[in-house]
């Protein structure tokens, strides 16, 4: 069927236009803005062109590298924990093929809840629960006889706090993905393995998991990219503190722009974050490319 050349653009055009204007163009502008020194409250005409100065200064700032480090650490710890927990729980709780337990549908509904709640509410709830004086966590510690901790005041505990909040929010997501993947595993292959004498562990690790490896990888990359984009929860939970022990890169960018009022510097640092995320995204694309499936 030969369609006129302009027809695809009717379908794709509007969406492409909106994305280009309101997403791509700002991203490119961020790149351009990085070449200027501009603070909020002054008109654009007063912005000074400083060339690569902002970029080099940003790359030399210990604060920026510290934020990058914190972000990497945060992402690594969270994603590892979420993947391990999610996979383990999925393996433990998967339905034997075709014979599900009554009530699992209801439970899965509950597991989606953490993802659906507004991130700002998530941040507020956990901030309340980690409160040193009146928080639930310290109350629970009191019940088991441990001393109350100043969660949000200690640099290591605050980091643990943001990790815990993220694990709470996203482990269910990994769990759901893995359950769905495991449900699609062809039972006959497992049967064959069992008949060959493989025991439980071997079936799991050598047969089942490799069969869902592509889902694991996709989920892992999705989580990794999203971990780099976290902002709202940490904004409310610790706002980067104490000190700068939880100042992830997104938050550092926000603070540079809207607290430090330096839009040029913020844009320069954004480029750095964007580079990292884009790198990860390209990797993700290589490994699971929806577009690569052409019709036979």
């Amino acid at each position: 069927m030969k369609t006129p050349r302009w027809v695809p653009w009717v379908y794709v055009g509007p969406a492409a236009l909106v994305m280009a204007a309101a997403c791509l163009y700002p991203v490119l502008s961020a790149l351009r803005l990085g070449f200027y020194d501009w603070s909020i409250g002054t008109p654009w005409s007063e912005a000074r062109w400083v060339g690569l100065d902002t970029f080099t200064r940003a790359l030399q700032e210990p604060a920026v590298w510290h934020s990058l480090w914190i972000t990497l650490l945060f992402s690594f710890v969270c994603v590892t924990a979420e993947m391990v927990l999610g996979i383990a729980l999925a393996l433990a709780l998967e339905d034997r093929p075709g014979r599900p337990l009554r009530g699992t549908a209801f439970f899965r509904t509950l597991f989606i809840l953490p993802m659906m709640i507004a991130p700002i509410a998530v941040g507020l709830i956990w901030r309340y629960m980690f409160d040193a004086q009146f928080g639930l966590l310290n109350a629970l510690l009191g019940v088991v006889g441990a001393a109350p901790q100043a969660w949000l005041a200690d640099e290591h505990l605050a980091f643990a706090a943001i990790v815990i909040a993220d694990i709470w929010q996203w482990t269910p997501f990994v769990f759901i993905m893995m359950i769905a993947a495991l449900a699609n595993v062809d039972g006959s292959v497992l049967e064959a393995a069992r008949m060959d004498g493989a025991n439980g562990w071997q079936t799991t690790f050598k047969v089942k998991l490799p069969m869902v490896m592509n889902v694991i990888v996709v989920t892992l990359l999705m989580r990794l990219i999203d971990a780099f984009r976290v902002l709202e929860v940490i904004y409310i939970l610790t706002f980067g503190g104490p000190g700068d022990s939880t100042e992830i890169l997104s938050l550092h960018i926000y603070k540079t722009a809207f607290v430090g009022q330096q839009l040029g510097s913020a844009a320069a640092i954004s480029v750095l974050l964007l580079a990292v995320v884009a790198g990860l995204s390209c990797l993700a694309l290589r490994l699971s490319n929806p577009l690569a499936e052409e019709h036979p």
Partner: protein, 291 residues
């Protein structure tokens, strides 16, 4: 040839397919229960706190028994312009969802079915744009929107939300449209349907679960989003999540009120969750989990 992936939870709905209860299942249920509690507990904390007065909040130790009060809800709903923020949030949420669905649907269809130059480029660009961190967008958008006069307007916010949600929506619907057999469309074309009719009558009904999932996800983001709304709204166009952040002050956090507002904000997502869990799960797993 790949068979279309069966939405896993569909299997759970068939009657008579539940296995008989065995003692070993007790452990299974126990773990499920523990997980469910883990997921629900913080949300329950938010709800219970919203019914407490300040003086009740300031007590160390666990206290399960307290006299609930509606004072926080009263202050949130009737003071502080709640109705204005609610209307703003609704306008933004519904508009962004509707526009994203329409544009995304059309674009996904175009990418699946039609061959044209630039298809790969747009496809890849879409996938990459999905991963842009919002903090990276906040700074240039603030500048550009201010200069274009879009700052502090609902339209400006909706435009941004549409742009941010289109990539995921397109990607999601792409997977669903792919699963619609081409033969059906060709049959309809032979029957004399124009391309628009084919799209409307054949494809759309078949991707309804995908549309539902996309709608829920887009609405969820538009309704819950905070950082971009914080930067781009003023007192006339403020949305609910931004209003919630106002209860966090330098002097302290008004926990009762902020949890009340948080609970109110959580109501639509909660409704969606309980009504459409299946669609949500399908939406999440489609594309990643291929048969």
């Amino acid at each position: 040839m790949n068979a279309p992936a069966l939405p896993p939870s569909a299997a759970l709905r068939r009657p008579g397919r539940y296995r008989t209860f065995q003692p070993a299942d007790l452990l299974h249920y126990a773990v499920l229960l523990l997980l469910a509690l883990f997921c629900v507990l913080p949300i329950a904390v938010m709800f219970t706190t919203s019914f407490k007065l300040q003086s009740q909040l300031f007590s160390t130790g666990l206290n399960f028994f307290f006299v609930p009060t509606l004072e926080n809800y009263r202050e949130v709903l009737f003071g502080d312009n709640f109705d204005r923020y609610l209307v703003n949030s609704l306008i933004v949420g519904v508009s962004a969802t509707a526009i994203t669905l329409v544009l995304g649907c059309m674009a996904a269809y175009g990418l699946v079915r039609l061959r044209f130059r630039g298809r790969r480029a747009i496809g890849y660009a879409t996938l990459l744009l999905r991963t842009v961190p919002l903090a990276v967008l906040a700074v240039p958008v603030f500048m550009i929107w201010s200069q274009a006069g879009l700052a502090n307007s609902l339209a400006g916010l909706v435009l941004l939300y549409v742009a941010v949600n289109l990539p995921f929506t397109i990607w999601l619907l792409y997977g669903f449209i792919q699963q619609v057999p081409v033969e059906l469309e060709e049959a309809a074309a032979i029957d004399g349907c124009g391309p628009v009719e084919v799209f409307w009558r054949v494809v759309l009904p078949l991707i309804r679960p995908g549309l539902a999932a996309a709608a829920i996800f887009t609405f969820r983001i538009a309704w819950n989003e905070f950082i971009l709304a914080l930067v781009l709204t003023d007192r006339a166009t403020r949305t609910l999540p931004v209003a919630a952040s106002l209860y966090v002050t330098d002097i302290g956090v008004d926990w009762g009120k902020v949890m009340a507002l948080g609970s109110l904000i959580a109501i639509p997502p909660l409704i969606f969750t309980f009504l459409a869990a299946r669609q949500i799960i399908t939406g999440l797993t489609a594309g990643a989990v291929k048969g």
